[in-house]
Subunit: 393 residues, 2 copies
C-alpha cells in the first residue's frame, strides 16, 4: 500500500510510520513541527530529545534499507494539503518516484493536547482552527483528487464524555415514540481539544454520506509506553515522551513523577475512569484498520482501548511497582483543575478491534517496570519544574 | 437592554436591529459586508439594492430619533471581537457613549448559504473557518470580558436532518440497556453550512457546561417575506431579498420565479419537507428569547418554525396564488442537485416558542399575495440569468 501519515513527528506518528514501512509499504510522513515549536515555547520538552524526521528517516534507511519520504508543511494550507494528493509536494527526504495518491491516509495531524487547548483564547482558537482546517483540507483533497483513499482518523474516547449509559462503538440505535433510527452516539467532550474531535467526526460523517468517502475513525483512549519493535531498534527512534501537564499522558506522567520523587498528582477524588492502551496496541489497531478498508460512504468507528482504570487504580498500580523498585512513591489528591465528574458510570464497548485481531498488551507490572527502567536511565533529564504548572479549565 | 447584533447587514440582522431599537433598547450592529462582497462576486445581487448600514442607521435616526451604532469588522479577528466587549470598538456611526458590555448578543454572523458552502473546496473551507472562528471568538470574548451576557445564536433545523423519529427541541432522553441519560438531539446535516451550525452547537454546549455560559440556540427553518412593522416605514429599510440559488430561500425564490415566468424549480420528487416561518416571526422569536434570559450554564434550544410543508405543497400554494394574480405559473421537477431524501418522515416539535408567546403569521394566500405585490413592483429588476445556476452537492 501507499500510505500517507499526517502528523508523523508526534508520539504516535513516527512509530506508526516505521511499522508500515517495516511491513513493506510505501510511506510518506508529513508534519509542521508544531509540537516542537510549542514544546520550546511552553518549556515542556520531552524526557529525551527526539531527532527531526529527516534524521530519523535517514537512520531508518541505514538500518533497514527502506525509504520513508518526509514532507514538511502545514495542512491548514489547502494548497499544501492538495500537493500531497497530486504529486506536486516536495519531500525534504526520499529520492524514490512519487507512488501516486495514497491508498490510505492516517490522520494524526492535530493539536493533541487538552490542556493546551484550555490555556487561553489564543490556544483554544488555534486548536479549533488547526484541527478543523487540517481535517477540512484533507477531506476536500481526497474528494477532489483521490476519492477512493481510505482515511484513518484518530479520534478520542473523550468525544463521548462520561454518559450514564454504555458507550457503544460510535453508533446508537434509538427508539423514540415508537419509531427507530440509527445515529452517531451522542458526544459531549471535556475540553476544547476533545470538542474539535467531535467536530471532525461531524465533518467526516458528512463526507461519507455526501461523497461516498471511506473513513475509519478510531476513538482512542490515553496511550502509554514508548517501546515498539521498531523503537527498540535504535535510541533515535523513540517517540516524544512527555511528563508535563501539556503533552504528557497520565501513565507516562505518573511514572516520571514516581521516579522524580514527586507525589502522583491525582485530580480530586480520582474516580475518573478512562480506557487506556499501550503504544504497541495503537500500532496494531491502526494497521488492522488499514488492512480493512471500508466501503464507499462508510464511516466505521472503533473504540480503541484495551482496559479501563480509574485514576486512583492507576496511581495505586504505579505506586506498587515504584515501591517494589525502591521508590518511596506517594499519591496526593490535588484540587481538580478540570471540570469533570470525579465519580461516574463508565461502560465502553471495545470489541470491534479485538474481533479484527487485536491482541492487547495490558498494563502489567512488567510493562510498568519497563517504563520505569527507561525513565530511570534518563532521570538526569527530568526537570522538576516541568512536572506541574496548574493549567485550569 | 444593551444589545449587540452580529451579522446585522443580512436578511435577518437589520430587521432585528430596528425591532430592538424601536423597543427602546441600546443597539449596536456589526457586520463585515461579506454578503455584499460575495453577491457581487457571484452575480447574485438581491431584487433591489439595500443601503449600507450607516445609511440605514442614519435614516432610522431621522425617522425615529433612535440611534443604532454601527461597527464594521471581521469577527474571525479575535481582537476585533473582543473590542466589542471591552469598549474599544470604534463605531462608524453613532455618537452615544459606550453602554458597557452587552446584556444580550444576537449572533447571526455566519456565512448563511448552504449552496455557497458546497461550491468548491475554497468556499467550503471558508464557511467552516468563518462560522467556527466567529463563534469561537464570541464565546471567548464573553467568557473573558462579559460572562453574564446572554448569547442568542441562530442555528438551523437543518442541523437535525430528516431522522426517522420525532425531532424534539434540541435534547433527547435516551434509555439504553436499562440506563438513562439526556443528550443533545442527534444531528446530521445536509450541507457544509448546516454542518458548521452543528459544530457551533457542540461549542456552545461546551461553553455552557464548562464556563456557565448562558445560551439560547434557535433552530430556525427557512424564512420568507420582507415586511415587518419597521421595514414598512421606509423603502431603505427592506432587507436583502434574494431570488438566486445561493442566498435566496425557497419561498422567496418561487415567488420571483412565478412573476418572472420561470417554472418553479422543484428538486426531484419534491417530498422534501421542512419547517418554515415568516420574517415577522423570526423577530418575535428573537425578542422572546432576549426577554427570557437563561440561567448560568444553560443551553436552551428552540425549534423556530411555525408550520411544515413539502416542496410540492409549497410550489402548489404559490402556483395557486400566482395564477389568481394572472401569472401562468408552471411547476417543473428538475434533477435534484442536492443529496437529500426526497420522501421522508418529518415530525418536528415546535411548541417552546409558542409557549413563550409566539403568535405565528402563517403562509396564507394573503401573505403570499403581499410578497407577489412587492416582487411585481420590482419586476424590472429581475435578472433571469440569476434565477438558476445549477449548484450541485
Amino acid at each position: 500500500m501507499n500510505i500517507l501519515i499526517l502528523g508523523s513527528d508526534g508520539y504516535l506518528g513516527w512509530p506508526t510510520a516505521m511499522r508500515f514501512s517495516g511491513g513493506g509499504h510505501e510511506v510518506t510522513v508529513v508534519d509542521n513541527y508544531f509540537r516542537r515549536r510549542v514544546s520550546a515555547e511552553l518549556d515542556v520538552e520531552p524526557l529525551f530529545p527526539v531527532p527531526n524526521l529527516v534524521e530519523r528517516a535517514r537512520r531508518w534507511r541505514e538500518l533497514t534499507g527502506r525509504e520513508i519520504k518526509v514532507v514538511i508543511g502545514d495542512l491548514t494550507d489547502a494548497s499544501f494539503t492538495r500537493s500531497l494528493f497530486d504529486g506536486s509536494a516536495k519531500p525534504v527526504f526520499g529520492e524514490g518516484a512519487w507512488g501516486g495518491p495514497p491508498d490510505t491516509v492516517v490522520h494524526y495531524a492535530e493539536q493533541p493536547s487538552a490542556p493546551y487547548s484550555m490555556l487561553d483564547h489564543k490556544t483554544s482558537s488555534f486548536t479549533i482552527f488547526n484541527n478543523l482546517m487540517a481535517t477540512t483540507n484533507l477531506v476536500f483533497a481526497v474528494r477532489d483528487l483521490s476519492p477512493s483513499t481510505h482515511i484513518i482518523k484518530l479520534g478520542t474516547m473523550g468525544e463521548y464524555g462520561t454518559p450514564n449509559i454504555a458507550i457503544e462503538e460510535g453508533w446508537l440505535d434509538i427508539e423514540h415514540k415508537g419509531r427507530k433510527d440509527r445515529f452517531l452516539f451522542p458526544r459531549a467532550a471535556g475540553s476544547i481539544y476533545h470538542t474539535t474531535k467531535i467536530m471532525d467526526t461531524d465533518l467526516l460523517w458528512f463526507a461519507a454520506r455526501m461523497w461516498g468517502m471511506r473513513v475509519t475513525d478510531l476513538m482512542q483512549g490515553p496511550v502509554y509506553g514508548l517501546e515498539t519493535d521498531e523503537t527498540a531498534m535504535d535510541e533515535s527512534f523513540r517517540p516524544f515522551f512527555n511528563y508535563d501537564e501539556i503533552f504528557g499522558t497520565v501513565v507516562n506522567r505518573f511514572v516520571v513523577q514516581a521516579v522524580a520523587g514527586h507525589p502522583l498528582t491525582v485530580y480530586g477524588k480520582g474516580g475518573q475512569t478512562r480506557g487506556y492502551l499501550n503504544l504497541k496496541d495503537t500500532l496494531q489497531c491502526v494497521c488492522l484498520a488499514a488492512g480493512h478498508p471500508v466501503g464507499a460512504g462508510e464511516l466505521k468507528i472503533y473504540n480503541q482501548i484495551t482496559e479501563t482504570f480509574s485514576v486512583n487504580e492507576l496511581a495505586e498500580k504505579i505506586r506498587k511497582v515504584g515501591v517494589g523498585m525502591g521508590f518511596p512513591v506517594e499519591i496526593k489528591s490535588i484540587e481538580n483543575p478540570r471540570k469533570e465528574k470525579e465519580e461516574h458510570y463508565y461502560d465502553p464497548v471495545y470489541t470491534g478491534l479485538k474481533d479484527m485481531g487485536l491482541k492487547p498488551h495490558l498494563l502489567t507490572d512488567d510493562v510498568m517496570a519497563g517504563m520505569f527502567e527507561t525513565v530511570i536511565k534518563n532521570r538526569g533529564n527530568i526537570k522538576a519544574h516541568k512536572i506541574f504548572r496548574g493549567v485550569k479549565w
